[in-house]
């Protein structure tokens, strides 16, 4: 429980209104109650303020018609992040050291305050940097290097020879460094092409649960610094993803494709193999990307092309049954005009 004036101090916010209101939770406008601090990051919602019962609001300029306290800040989202941290549930810190129920190989190098949870299996020659946490049930394969302040949640599997940077978060049940889908049909059978490469995950990458990232055949599969994945993303062998990309849920990227920096792929989008997607490209949900995409484009559809054009084509698509009827009608009218013309000549 904090008073709004305490909150204002911690956020560096200007406080408007009753400074004694007490706050214990962060919540959305619609369901906010007296001890809730809420926020408005979009002027569209200003009109909802009148009915809002929140004790306080984070907002970028003073609003009219709101009864609670107002915390005026420059960047509402940045302040929201701070306030969510302040009211985050208090959880026990991971215990430093190797749990007696973990199984650790030979020639392991652990930094300061590393926490290895129970039922973790770590193979030989693994390095883990200061402050990293390997939660219960993980497996870390031979020769893999994990940086500092990195977190592997429960049941993550990292195969051998992978490189994971600093400040990385890999949520539960992800698989890193699996063998890719590379076969050659020789003498009546699909024969696996060995995958000698690795996966490199750079600093500040965060992966949602259930993602699978295959190792390279040779060289590396790479996820660039600051890139974030949602749940259940599939990354094939030799894919290269740039920095600060956002890859939403259930996206799949096929072998050897390359994404630039700042690419955004919405949910369930698929990228075919061996294509290049330029910096800052935004791909709409469910799209099938079948070729190279120039930097900065917004594309969508099955297959994907420029979103504006795809939306127009889709609008006509919906009218196709009607257009088809109208077309039949025009054919009849032209038939008739021609018949009249024929009779005349």
């Amino acid at each position: 429980m904090l008073t709004v004036s305490q909150l204002a101090e911690r956020l560096g916010a200007d406080l408007v209104g009753d400074d004694s209101v007490e706050i214990d939770v962060v919540g959305p406008l619609g369901t906010a109650e007296g001890s809730t601090v809420t926020f408005i990051s979009d002027d569209r919602y200003l009109s909802d303020l009148q009915d809002c019962q929140a004790g306080a609001i984070i907002i970028s300029k003073k609003a009219e018609g709101f009864n609670g306290a107002q915390l005026i800040v420059k960047n509402v989202t940045a302040a929201l992040i701070e306030v969510l941290k302040i009211f985050a549930p208090k959880l026990k810190k991971s215990v430093a050291g190797i749990d007696p129920l973990a199984k650790v190989g030979e020639n392991i190098s652990l930094g300061k305050d590393v926490s290895i949870g129970p039922f973790v299996a770590i193979d030989d020659n693994v390095e883990i940097g200061d402050g990293s946490v390997i939660a219960s049930g993980c497996r870390v394969g031979e020769n893999t290097k994990i940086g500092s302040d990195t977190r592997l949640d429960s049941n993550v599997v990292v195969y051998h020879n992978c490189v994971i940077g600093n400040n990385v978060i890999i949520q539960a049940n992800c698989v890193i460094g699996s063998t890719g889908f590379g076969y050659s049909f020789i003498e009546g059978a699909h024969r696996l092409i060995p995958h000698n490469g690795k996966v490199v995950i750079e600093d500040f990458v965060e992966l949602g649960p259930g993602c699978c990232i295959d190792r390279a055949k040779y060289g590396q599969t790479k996820i660039g610094a600051g890139t974030k994945f949602d749940n259940l993303v599939h990354i094939a062998h030799n894919v290269i993803i740039g920095r600060c990309c956002l890859i939403a849920g259930q996206v799949g990227i096929a072998g050897s494709s390359k994404l630039g920096d700042g690419v955004v792929l919405a949910g369930q989008a698929g990228i075919t193999d061996n294509v290049e997607v330029g910096d800052g490209v935004m791909v709409g949900g469910g799209s099938a990307v079948l070729g190279n995409i120039e930097a900065g484009k917004r594309i969508w559809g099955f297959p994907a092309f420029e979103s504006r054009d795809a939306l127009k084509a889709t609008a006509v698509f919906r009218r196709l049954p009607e257009l088809s009827k109208q077309f039949k009608n025009i054919v009849k009218r032209v038939d008739k005009l021609e018949a009249t013309e024929d009779n005349r000549s």
Copy 2:
């Protein structure tokens, strides 16, 4: 091995035909043999009965031309469920108690006959109700509450502060309560918005393997009572799903969207963020739902609209190359008619 008369008694069925036939397995019409009991739940398959070698059939009214015994019941599917239970493989019951190879935190409250399997990690302040089974390799995070007669299969991860009801089944490798995909781009980096909310899974929910359900930013992500999920479903933060929905394999639902009761989403469908899908809506496989959908609608397509209309539009789509040719032809014919007309004037 049961005789059909024993079966009839256990099902409350009327028996027609030889009452001494012995049955030891349930199977489909096509491959049924002498000791198989099969069933007909759809009159379309009545004609297949003549070649059917099953020892007995479960059916809603007496059929002609079938040699085996007939078990006449009111509800064929309900009887099928009973008979499948009767002939289910006999498996060892989970042992009550905490396996010596589990790791259990402090201040845990376990009901009667709870079974905690080997390699399970349970954090502090967890409550688990009577008769629930936590299978090998699971992780249950701090403060999470699990009801009675609930089953977590192997390697399920439930993060902190979640609430799971009674009679819930969560199949292997699901993840509940992961942090959602919420970022804000501030000073050159995607900064994670902390997720202070939880996941609430109500009674009688059943989840297929590999599903991932993210916790809410604030408030809750909720799966309503009696809702069932197939495999590898992705549920984003703050999604609210009603009661008795059916969510098929690889469906994805983006952030803050709401489903009413009795919604059916077929495989690989995607629902965009912040939309409302009304009670009883049925969404066809692979559909992309991009807006609110009124209760009771059947929709399909990419993007989805009313199934009947979408099927018609798709039929025209397939004829587009032919229509395009015909259109060129009409243009020529109109050019010619105009030319004739021009010559005339």
Copy 3:
């Protein structure tokens, strides 16, 4: 480090050029350096050879304009597989025996040199053949049979009564034998139809990480010999897949559908329930297959039909906004022609 003449001997290759070059890695044309052996499996890339810095190349006939050594072989891909094996990272062999931190049930039958890793839970009456490796964190359910030289990577869950053949590879976090998505709505609730069947995985099947294969209601879900899966594939109950199929990432196959031999499904394709897909069918990425497909067809699209036709229809689709305008124009012109005609008569 091997000299190219040593390599030539091991590959049975004819050597052209300097036989003293030393090689320690396999890599692609573009980034190859002096100690790299690369390859050309497609004449399209012959022109890239001039700038290639590789120490050696595997190729099917002597090329001009390449400075390094040439290893001339009949089958480039087969030689590539061999050379990748030669330069594969050296990893520790799995230790035979049961890890002291594994939990093994009663009446287990283990072949010679079986390796059961730490934190593995094996239920009663399981059989595992010679040389198989069950990695850390796996669960193997009651009565399941696993063949020889088969590999379950970490955290794989195989439920009861399943049958897994010889030389099978199941990568991390796969789930085999989960209960399928079969419900019947009876008295106001979805009631689960018990799944008494099993999953059968034949010899030489390989599964990418995170795949989920449901058991059959009765009879079996079957994956035919030599079939390979990519990551995060969803297979519903009673699906039958033939031999030597290739199923790419995030594909989903709904209940009771049958695939013939040699079927190829590209990424994110979906097959609806109860359809038959003939031998050798190729389905393009993201396709929705809604009906039976004859052997040998190549199909694509949403919904899928013959790829050639679907590509043509898609090309017209992109021009729909323009065509719609042109159509309006034609309607006006026909209106005008008719008006002229009306005035005349």
